[in-house]
Point group: C2
Chain length 174, copies 2
């Protein structure tokens, strides 16, 4: 692959359109990523990105080459007190840039943000049990498998797949 | 307790106000139930109940004495194909009617609905690990513990509680 400069930065409302295309693209590249069409609308992303800026319980970080989004990591927790310490993590990298450490950098930034957050005590994510590469990445950041959710995901051919629930405790805050 | 006639019926839009009061009441009675204030608004409940009627992936059943709601069971799955077979189950019974089998009846109706659904393949729920009585009820209906989610719930005094993820496969549909 050609040498390139990757910039990592927090997403803003103005990234909504590019982010929608990015999510559309990565979810069409692989059946590992769950395409919940509702959450990919530009309007919804604009709202979500506006919400995320300068919030204790949300962050959306982008990996960009020039203006092209090649990766994203998003952490969101509920606004409800009882679970606002539980950050849901989502990460995706364009296939063309896979294997170059972009995912690693994004995970590092997200975990670092969580460690410095006064709110987040727990990060969690779900990943298809067959997605060994992603699981390895999460394990590298000390995520552990809390559950194998039997048949929790359905492919287009009606094959049911197991999904792992993985989590990581943050700091010694418990 | 006085003898009483309990009627079990599917909730309609017109139950929204009574259901909001019921949820407010049961969540103030116990810290076992998670009061996500956003979902208890009458307007949101009206929309949710209207959506639930005659849908393959949603049901909301009420236990009533006269017009008073004393229990509810709700199952919802996503509208997204990949996970529309996963029904999230929520159940609550007023403390005054606890121990009289209302929860058992509601669970039976919900599981029966799921077994006859062409869509639902998996029911799941979360329950605080300390809520032994509820866990026993779920086990009676063949729910198994898939995960202990460490510190996934926070009490008002900032105590963190473990939460169980429990699930039940439906039919031999896998």
């Amino acid at each position: 692959m050609t040498k390139y400069d990757v910039v990592f930065e927090e997403a803003t409302e103005s990234d909504a359109l590019a982010l929608a295309s990015f999510l559309e693209e990565v979810s069409s590249e692989t059946s590992f990523i769950f395409n919940d069409s509702e959450s990919f609308s530009v309007a919804d992303l604009k709202i979500a990105l506006a919400l995320s800026l300068n919030r204790l319980n949300r962050i959306c970080l982008l990996a960009k080459i020039d203006d092209d989004i090649i990766g994203v990591v998003n952490v969101t927790s509920s606004d409800s007190y009882a679970i606002d310490h539980v950050g849901d993590l989502f990460i995706a990298v364009k296939q063309a840039y896979s294997g170059h450490g972009i995912g690693h950098c994004l995970m590092e930034l997200a975990c670092d943000w969580a460690e410095h957050s006064p709110l987040i005590r727990r990060l969690e994510l779900t990943v298809q049990a067959r997605n060994r590469r992603a699981i390895k990445l999460y394990q590298d950041f000390d995520f552990v498998v809390e559950a194998t959710k039997t048949a929790a995901f359905k492919l287009d051919d009606e094959t049911y797949l197991d999904v792992l629930l993985m989590s990581k405790m943050i700091g010694n805050k418990k």
